[in-house]
């Protein structure tokens, strides 16, 4: 958790630096208004309803994530994919997904979603025991599909508004509310880990926990097929912003 906060500050600084640079270039020739401007088309209904007052910052962050991917994460993920067999990668993904069931569970309970919570308990117990600590996802083959809930959804059911769009370092598209939700879920997880303290007796708790966090980060990037700017579409930022908010809306329906 702490790690994420540090990352956040480093990247905030970087992004401000990047956007700062951009503004200082002088124009040589004077600008002439284009043949067509948006004012001609103001009679149409706008499609995106996402509030984006920090667009300049967000685009800087979007670019930062692209560079971080390019120079760090994707090479690491490629090395991971080359070095480990498929079944190990699946096992790692299952293991972390199983830990995240806890998040779905308490958020399901907070939203009084009984069926979801029961399915999640069933999944967690099954996969943690006969699925050997979550390495195998047997629950899905029993017909218990994975559910998804987080504190962002919980806040939504409590009537909290999404707040403006916010592109986070490494985590990508978010809203202020989902960023807050992420922080709360991270805090809960940290508290649970502290309470159980599974590596307390090993004498190398920090090292083990760092290793696990690193592996989880690699796994997250490994499972995410999105690549910044891969669409080669000059308005990708806006398409991603729209798809993000639509997707968010659809997942909160069920």
């Amino acid at each position: 958790m702490f790690r994420y906060i540090i990352h956040l500050f480093i990247s905030l600084g970087l992004a401000l630096y990047l956007t700062g640079c951009a503004a200082s270039n002088a124009h040589i020739a004077s600008e002439i208004p284009p043949m067509h401007t948006v004012s001609e088309f103001s009679d149409d209904e706008s499609v995106s309803h996402t509030e984006d007052p920090w667009e300049g910052f967000n685009k800087g962050m979007y670019k930062f994530n692209y560079e971080a991917d390019r120079f760090f994460f994707l090479p690491v993920v490629n090395a991971y994919e080359t070095a480990t067999p498929h079944f190990v990668q699946t096992g790692v993904s299952n293991f972390f997904a199983n830990i995240r069931e806890v998040r779905t569970l308490y958020n399901g309970i907070l939203q009084a979603k009984g069926k979801k919570s029961l399915v999640t308990i069933g999944r967690f117990l099954t996969n943690s025991t006969i699925g050997i600590g979550g390495l195998f996802d047997l629950a899905t083959s029993f017909g218990w599909r994975q559910q998804y809930e987080d504190f962002d959804h919980t806040m939504e059911t409590w009537g909290v508004g999404t707040g403006p769009y916010l592109v986070l370092p490494l985590l990508g598209p978010n809203t202020v509310r989902s960023a807050g939700g992420f922080a709360v879920d991270g805090g809960v997880r940290w508290a649970i880990m502290n309470g159980i303290d599974p590596f307390g007796g090993t004498g190398a708790r920090t090292e083990i926990e760092t290793g696990i966090t690193a592996l989880e980060t690699v796994d997250l990037r490994h499972r995410e097929s999105f690549r910044y700017y891969e669409s080669d579409y000059p308005f990708e930022y806006y398409m991603v912003r729209y798809i993000f908010s639509e997707h968010r809306e659809l997942t909160s329906i069920k």
Binding site: I32, T37, G56, Y228, Y229, D232
Partner: protein, 425 residues
């Protein structure tokens, strides 16, 4: 009727593949041309593919100076799948706005690799990546010039690839606008003979670019309020889909969801057509913006403005979406070529953007063939007959499939591969 149709589709989807493997009746299941175009081919009716295909996306570095907002663009991106033995090589050209990794392109790459070809997939000359890196004028749409740029790109790719692969002979194929461009590239090859293509296939090509684009744009006349209200129309379609999703037992927005929506006849024909035109507009907005940025054309971006990454393009996006391809043609494309060729009339330019301008070559060359559909709506009345007249036995017309909806259908894919290999038509 509605139920009968739903039952029929489910029945067709569930039927095992071998049941009609050597049947002569064409069984592509979607008879509505717009629905076919949107839905494509159900997974179960595509060729069965096994084993891994070594698909790689490569970058052809170009030293062109580019505006700062394209900082993420490091060169022309093309996709390859190479055999490890001597084999024929096929170049593929994507349709309007398409990259070398668009889904139709990847389907062709996979199937042709399995059929034993080295495959090199190229983005469309109307894609941003191509406009930035490989277009000499940065103003896409002129078939002869785009073909020359494509040809040069192919030569460059061949130069960097030939040490790694053994090639027996060369082939060429393209779909949609890429199909029309393939004809112009083939003609150029007839003169330059670098590749000496053995076979060239045009898949659902446009005969006249101007007429096809007008027909696609015309689909927006059927939406409430007409073309100026595409935003409102899109919102309505999203609301409809979201509502349908909420009421049904769906896990994700996937093929199953789309088929269910089709079976429930969620959209009427005007709405389906409108969506096709909107998706075309989304592609052409990218093309217009990129070309304008590269040429400092002052069309949707202020002239002389140096765009920065932090600058908002929101307004520019909205403006570009509301400009039709015909606006682009009349206000940007035609004036550009008129300034290069004083005295060039609009009619002459429209004529040049048509297969008719190379009709003599197409009629006489035995290497080039066409596969299309009876109900492909990008063809104007009389254009199918025109293709029949010019290509004769080198034309194959399927009874349905819309615009490329049946490209991945197993019969189509098998026929396409057979046409490339066979010595006769």
């Amino acid at each position: 009727m509605k139920i009968a149709r739903g039952v029929l589709i489910v029945f067709l989807l569930l039927m095992p593949a071998f049941a009609w493997a050597d049947d002569t009746v064409y069984r592509y299941p979607i008879d509505d041309s717009y629905a076919a175009t949107i839905l494509g081919t159900p997974q179960k009716l595509r060729p069965e593919l096994s084993g891994e295909v070594p698909v790689k996306t490569m970058i052809l570095e170009t030293d062109l100076k580019k505006p700062e907002i394209f900082f993420y663009d490091h060169g022309l991106r093309y996709t390859v799948a190479f055999q490890d033995r001597k084999a024929p090589l096929i170049f593929l050209i994507a349709g309007t706005g398409g990259s070398s990794r668009s889904s139709k392109m990847l389907a062709l790459v996979n199937n042709l690799y399995r059929a034993g070809f080295h495959v090199v997939a190229l983005p469309s000359p109307t894609s941003s990546n191509f406009i930035i890196n490989a277009s000499t004028s940065h103003v896409p749409g002129n078939l002869a010039e785009d073909a020359a740029d494509l040809y040069q790109t192919m030569e460059q790719i061949w130069n960097v690839s030939k040490e790694h692969i053994e090639v027996s002979d060369f082939f060429l194929a393209g779909y949609s606008l890429g199909g029309t461009e393939a004809a112009f590239v083939a003609k150029l090859d007839e003169e330059r003979k670098v590749f000496d293509f053995r076979r060239v296939l045009m898949l659902n090509p446009a005969v006249s670019l101007y007429s096809s684009v007008s027909r696609i744009e015309g689909l927006l006349d059927g939406i409430p309020g007409g073309p100026r209200r595409i935003g409102a129309f899109f919102n309505q379609m999203m609301a409809k889909s979201t509502d349908f999703y909420r009421k049904g037992d769906f896990v994700a927005i996937d093929d199953d969801f789309l088929y269910a929506a089709y079976q429930a006849q969620l959209l009427n024909r005007n709405e389906a057509g409108g969506l096709i035109a909107v998706s075309f507009r989304i592609g052409s907005a990218g093309m217009i913006f990129t070309s304008d940025a590269m040429t400092n054309g002052g069309y949707v971006i202020p002239k002389n403005k140096v765009l920065k990454n932090s600058d908002s393009l929101d307004d520019c996006f909205w403006t570009s979406l509301h400009l039709s391809f015909l606006d682009y043609f009349n206000e940007y494309f035609y004036p550009y070529f008129q300034s290069r060729y004083p005295g060039l009339s609009k009619e002459k330019l429209i004529e040049a953007l048509s297969l008719k301008s190379i009709e003599g070559y197409l009629a006489s060359s035995n290497r080039i063939g066409v596969i299309t559909n009876e109900d492909d709506f990008i063809l104007a009345q009389g254009e199918l007959d025109y293709l029949r007249r010019v290509f004769g036995p080198r034309l194959k017309v399927y009874p349905c499939g819309g615009h490329l909806g049946n490209l991945e259908y197993r019969d189509n894919m098998a026929f396409l591969i057979d046409r490339l290999r066979s010595a006769t038509w």
